[in-house]
Every structure is written in C-alpha cells, then in structure tokens.
C-alpha cells in the first residue's frame, strides 16, 4: 500500500448545523444565510419605517412641531438609505439565498464562504451608518443621492456614510456574483436556462445589473471623499470640476438600482400568480425577454432624473423616448400576469392577494413614471411630492408587497408550519388600504406644488398631509402583525405539507422538497421529469 492517508478534508456539507449562536456566525449554509438576510432586512424595515414615521409625524400639520429641520433632513436621508440598502435589497438577497439552490436543483450556493462574508458585512455597515446620527453635525442630510456640493458641506459623518456605502456595495456585489456563478455552474442536469423559474431569471438579470453599475457608484462616492479631504475637484466647479458629472454618475447607478429592487419582485409575482390561478405562466419566454429588455433599457435612461439641470433638446428627446420605451416590456409582463389569471381557477390566499395588489398598484406607479418621462411635463413634477408618490408606489406596493407575498408564499416551506391565514389577510387589507391613504394624496399635493424634503409647508396642503400621515401610522403599525405572523409560524402551527399549496408541485422544484427542507438541499438530484417546464 502506498501513500494512503486518512482523509480528513471534509467539505462543509459533511456537517450539520453547529449548535447555538456560533451556528449563525460561521454558517455557510444557503438557508441559514437566507434566514439571516431576511431577519436583518425585517429589522431594518422597522428601523427605516420608524424614521418614516418621524417624517410623517412632523408633516402631520403645518409648522415645526417635533424635530428641527436639520434632523428632519437626516431622517429623510437615512430612511432612504436604510430602506434601499438595508431592507429591500438584503431581503431579495435573502430570498435568492433560500430559493435559488432549491429552484435549480443545486445543493447550495456556489461560493458558500463568500456568502457568509457578504452577509456579515451588513450589520457592521448599518451600525456604522446609524452611528453617524450621534456625530458632530449629525448624519448625512443630502438625500439618498448625496449630491455635491450640499453633501460636502456636512459634518464628520461624510466619510462614515461613504464607507458604509462601500461596504453595502461590496456585500451586494458578492451576493450578485454568487448568484451568477451558482446559476451558471450549479444547475441540476437537465435544468437548461429556459427551464429555470422566472424568479431565478429575474435574479440573474438583477445580478448582472448590480455588478455593472456598482463600480460607478463606488467611484462616484470615492470622488466625493477625495474632493472633501484630498483637494481634488472632480465635482467642484471652482477647481474645474462639474457637479452635474456626479449626477450622471449617481443616476447611471441609481436608475438601474430601481430595477434591481423591482426585477426580483417581478420574479416573485411570476411564481405566485400561476400557483393560485392553477395555470402555467402565460408567455414564459416573452417574460424572460421582457425582463432582459427592461434590464438593458434601464442603462440608457438615467438622465430622465436630470431634465431640470439643462440638457440639449436632442438629449431631452432621446431620454424621453427611451424612458417611454420601458413601458413596452413592462406592459408585456402585466399583460402576461393578467392572462395567467384569465379563466384560471383562482383562490385568494394572502400571497395571491399581495401579488394582485402588486400588479394593480405597481402599474399605477408605472403610469405616473410614464408621465414624468416627458421632459417638458417633468419640469412641473420635478422635486415635488408627485415624485415621492410615484416612487413610493413603485417601491412599497411594488417591491415591499412582493416581499410580503414571497414571505407568505414560502414561509410554510421554510418553517414547516402554516401561517395564520386570518392574520395574514388582516395584514393585507390594513396594508393595502393604508398604503393608498398614505401615498395617493401625495400625488395631489405634488401636482399642486408642494416640494419634497421640507419639514414645513403652506397651509393649503394641510388636509392631504394629515391624511397621508394617518395612512403612514396605520401602515407602520400594521407591519407589527406581519412580524407576529412570522414569529407565530416559526414557533409552531399547523404542519405544512411538502406541496403546501394545491398544485404547487407543477410550478417549482422547491415544492418537491420536504417542509421544512433538510439542512442539505438536494443531496439527491431532482429527477429529469420534475425539471421539465416548471413555470
């Protein structure tokens, strides 16, 4: 016998979960990391939401009542940064971690250790961001866009905010790369690209968007830093720089960022509607191409955020038409969702209710977006509450409702227990009514000329603002029901079957795994007949 050694190199998959707290610190398991992401994002949702309530409390009536204007501006900035980078994006990364391996028949994510790193960067980044509230001069107060020269006039918080942004960007990039490598190299035999569920497709396109635009944002905020501390003049007109260059850089990142938050929502809704309509998704391949088209178009429309800084007529025409063009593939998607429901044997469990609300309310947000794409009209809407209403319709009943839908849809699979349907429906109705009470009046005050990012306003806007604030508080406190439903479902409840939803096995591989799934997913490859046409 020669060169025989004891083989003690075990991969992580040889082990079960470690015990206690260290399980969560050291885990490389895709489901554990998915859970960590989802719980963190829920906490951040409440933190960012509390900041929104501070804003709405101050805006309940005209005049200054509760906070000073500087703190108000810090709240708007941190609310936005936390909701975008802390709540919505990590929640979708959490969903990707949980669901992508299960949906493509892979045992785990391709790079499990990097997965652990990409999560654990987040809590430290958020602590750093929150700590800026206690620094001299307070937190950044220049909006989530961090436009110069305003942001450069802030206190000590700027480098910390920028370092936070870098960390969050790194985390997102690592998450995106992991998704890409997993989907391209870890698919089960027989799982061709055009057999992948829509949720996986939308995430792959999102991941490509992320890695294409993140360096632009990283470069932009680093240049802010060098302008402030190292005497460069990238954005300083006095030194030969151009503040509008920052706007180009920011929106080249910022516009696709909106799609980064919305495309996975499209994926979630495309999984849920066929299940509760008991029909296959209408026009699967057109959905894939529409998603890819939206992704591509999102790169070439950034300057529609900058009509008011002045641009040549040709530029205005180009950005107007290019932006309008996005309505075409988006329309294809809405048409396909409605066609999937058409003559389906529909039932209205909580995930389906949230999915339908998503389709209706996101479409409304899309239509106001179309209004703003027209450059001469946008001069009227720019920096008014109409914009606030538009993007909140896209991001709250859009992205956040899709996250609620996803949670209710997959929670029984994750925990092995059914959630409380009564409380789920209560959460849905309270959220849906209050979100409209919250954001719909903002269209009117915006069209009437109320500017955004102000702590005080003229009395003619009082009624609609009071209405909006009532909606905000009802919406905010309704989310406690959501947290309670999750808690109740995690600790117990009626046992969920493997399929959970009637006929769900026809729509995804994940429903062929036990509920909850074993710690090691797909130790056995899914049978080829299970893979065929799971849409």
């Amino acid at each position: 016998m020669t060169a025989v050694t004891h083989d003690d190199h075990h991969d992580h998959h040889d082990h079960g979960p470690a015990k206690g707290f260290m399980r969560w610190v050291t885990t490389t398991n895709h489901k554990d990391i998915g859970t960590l992401y989802l719980v963190t994002s829920l906490i951040m949702f409440f933190v960012g939401g509390a900041m929104a309530l501070v804003i709405r409390l101050e805006l309940f009536e005209p005049g200054m009542q509760f906070v000073d204007p500087a703190f108000f501006n810090q709240m708007t900035t941190l609310h936005a940064l936390i909701m975008v980078f802390g709540a919505v994006m990590p929640a979708f990364v959490g969903l990707a971690n949980w669901m992508i391996p299960m949906m493509i028949g892979a045992p785990d994510m391709a790079l499990p250790r990097m997965n652990n790193w990409s999560f654990w960067i987040l809590p430290f980044a958020f602590v750093m961001l929150a700590s800026t509230l206690f620094m001299e001069g307070g937190a950044a107060a220049a909006g989530w866009t961090l436009y110069p020269p305003l942001v450069l006039q802030g206190g000590n918080s700027l480098p910390f905010t920028i370092f936070t942004v870098h960390l969050l960007g790194m985390s997102s990039i690592m998450g995106a790369i992991n998704v890409i490598v997993t989907v391209f190299n870890m698919r089960a035999p027989g799982m061709t690209l055009m057999k992948m569920p829509l949720f996986v497709w939308t995430w792959v396109i999102t991941a490509f968007l992320l890695i294409a635009v993140m360096p632009v944002f990283a470069g932009a905020v680093t240049m802010l830093l060098t302008d402030k501390f190292f005497g460069t003049s990238f954005f300083n007109a006095a030194g030969g720089g151009d503040p509008v260059l920052y706007q180009h850089l920011f929106w080249f990142f910022g516009h696709p960022e909106v799609y980064i938050m919305i495309l996975p929502s499209f994926g979630v809704v495309s999984q849920i509607i066929p299940t509760f309509s008991r029909k296959p998704l209408f026009g699967y391949s057109s959905m894939v191409y529409a998603t890819a088209s939206i992704g591509l178009l999102s790169f070439v429309v950034w300057a529609h955020h900058q009509y008011t800084v002045g641009m040549p007529l040709a530029g205005e025409l180009y950005f107007t038409y290019a932006t309008m063009l996005i309505a075409v593939p988006t329309g294809v998607k809405v048409f396909n969702w409605v066609s999937t429901m058409w003559k389906g044997a529909m039932t209205f469990e909580t995930p389906m209710l949230f999915a339908i609300a998503f389709v209706v309310l996101f479409t409304m947000g899309g239509f106001t977006g179309l209004m703003m794409s027209i450059s001469p009209a946008d001069l009227q809407y720019h920096d008014t509450y109409f914009i606030v209403a538009h993007f909140h319709y896209v991001l709250v009943p859009g992205a956040v409702f899709a996250l609620f839908a996803a949670t209710y849809y997959w929670l029984p699979k994750w925990t092995g227990h059914m959630y409380d349907e009564g409380l789920g429906k209560l959460h849905f109705w309270l959220s849906t009514i209050s979100v409209n009470v919250l954001f719909f009046p903002q269209h009117f005050v915006g069209l009437a000329g109320m500017p955004r990012r102000i702590p005080d306003y003229a009395v003619q806007f009082a009624e609609f603002n009071a209405m909006s604030s009532v909606g905000a508080f009802v919406f905010g406190f309704s989310q406690l029901i959501f947290a309670y439903v999750i808690y109740k479902c995690v600790v117990g409840g009626e046992k969920a079957t493997d399929e959970v939803w009637e006929g769900a096995k026809a729509h995804g591989l994940e429903w062929h795994l036990p509920s909850p799934p074993p710690y090691h997913t797909w130790t056995d490859a899914p049978a080829p007949e299970l893979i065929a046409d799971k849409h």
Binding site: V213, L249, T523
Partner: protein, 159 residues
C-alpha cells in the same frame, strides 16, 4: 456523474467520478469577455468624462468575478479515478492531472458505505484498510453514491 470503463487487454476496471457542472470553460470565458466589454465600456465612458476613478473599481470587480468563476470551475473540474486490477484498488484524485494517489491491496480492502441517521444528510463512501481510509465520491449526489457503492461492491467481490 459516474462513468465506468473496462480495459479488455489488462482486465482493469476503471470508474471516473466527476461533480455536476452546468458551465464549461468556454462558456465562462464568453461570459467574462462580455462582462469585460460592458464594464470596460462603462468605465471608459466615465473616464473620458473625467471620472477616471470608476475604472479601477470596475477592474477590481471584474477580477473578483473572474476569480469566483475560476474557483467554481476548479471545484467542478475535480476528478476521481478508481482503478481496480486483480491485485490492487487505486484511487487517483486531481483536477487536470492526478494530484494524489491512494493504493490498496484488493484482497483486504473494505468498502464502507455509511448512511447518515439524519434525513437529508449525505452518506459517506470510504475505502478502508488498516485503520486508514479514503472517501470517494464526496461530490456526488446521493443516488449516484448509492449506485457507485453497489458497483464497487460487485467489482471488489468479483474474482
């Protein structure tokens, strides 16, 4: 994947084990090339506008993407070749060429297939002799490992 072969001249039985991979080297380079074009294009666009600091971030990110793909492809390029002759059982491991070789006397080698008592936990298949063991097919899925165990049992028993 488990591939079996038989050398009629020498009588050797050969089993080649490889992990599942849905991406080839060519596909990887195609993807990386496309991303280099896109990210390089974006970086160059902003560099010409004066924001040259985008370029190094794009470059670093592309390198990370390439490194991650390489890691994943290295994992899926692993091979285990089990060669069974009249006298010996040889296990060779490596990526492009054998990097470690373990050899056992066929008459004494024991095959141990340990199923996990916990549902959903992978089993372990080991060749063992004199207290020393080599695990084979660690990257296989359960059904493949089960088939390999049966195959090895038959081959080792046959004389």
């Amino acid at each position: 994947m488990v591939e079996k072969g038989h050398d009629a001249e020498t009588g050797r039985q050969i089993i080649v084990l490889r992990p599942n991979a849905s991406l080839g080297r060519r596909g990887m380079w195609l993807l990386l090339g496309l991303m280099a074009l896109v990210m390089g294009g974006i970086g160059a666009l902003f560099a010409t506008a004066g924001a040259w600091l985008v370029m190094p971030f794009s470059g670093l990110e592309w390198l990370l993407l390439a490194y991650c793909f390489r890691l994943s492809l290295r994992y899926s390029a692993r091979r285990e070749v089990i060669t069974i002759t009249d006298a010996t059982v040889q296990v060779q491991r490596g990526e492009r060429r054998p990097e470690e070789t373990h050899e056992f006397q066929r008459a004494w080698v024991m095959l141990q297939w340990r199923k996990s008592p916990i549902r959903g936990r992978p089993s372990r298949l080991c060749l063992r002799l004199h207290g020393r063991e080599v695990e084979v097919g660690r990257f296989l899925v359960e059904a493949e490992r089960e088939a390999l165990a049966r195959e090895l049992k038959t081959l080792l028993a046959a004389r």
